[in-house]
Symmetry: C2
Subunit: 116 residues, 2 copies
């Protein structure tokens, strides 16, 4: 019998390597703060993630110089840290797009999911 428990981590494995670029792409649209990013990714279904993933990820992006941050007052609550795409971040995103398309098409071809 096919064991469902052996694939429960599949979506998580798929996210690995792409999630940070999805974050860059969201920031390409306009600056956002942490929880806002989490909500947008959650809305994308297959890209939903947790704070334990998101904040270290944002920290890595910051240290890479791909995003810059600034603090702003929130309407009613603690201050929010906004993230903005840098020039380097934009370049990294462009590079990812090319790599992703090549990878995606290769997988589609082998797996047989290219018919859309």
């Amino acid at each position: 019998m096919y064991r469902m428990t052996e694939t429960l981590g599949l979506a998580s494995s798929l996210r690995r390597g792409t999630l940070e670029f999805c974050v860059l792409a969201l920031l390409d649209d306009h600056p956002r703060y942490g929880v806002g990013l989490a909500q947008e990714l959650g809305a994308a279904g297959a890209l939903a993630t947790t704070e334990g993933t998101l904040y270290p990820l944002l920290s890595r992006l910051r240290r890479s110089g791909w995003v810059a941050t600034s603090w702003q007052e929130s309407p009613a609550g603690p201050p929010r840290r906004y993230y903005t795409l840098t020039r380097d971040g934009h370049a990294a995103l462009e590079h990812f797009r090319a790599e992703w398309v090549a990878f995606r098409d290769a997988v589609d071809l082998i797996v047989g999911t290219e018919i859309r």
Copy 2:
């Protein structure tokens, strides 16, 4: 300046989580041996991988019961270990296809690569 060295591992990160299913898909076509699989993946460009990855991966598939193996003489060289997709393996592959399509479309939508 955008640091190219920071993305050299990008293709590798993308492969993570999908490579084993690409192997299952190749075996869905017909049984193959290790080096043959490596060559097919290599031909797919973005899915090229190393023996250090492939053999532990095949070992995991075997222990999961997703593939069965048998030894066959080679034309001129050492014997080859052939891998065949099991019923469980086929089911796992079908499940991956659904998850992959959902994930792929979500990334395409966010990153802006949905126009094909």
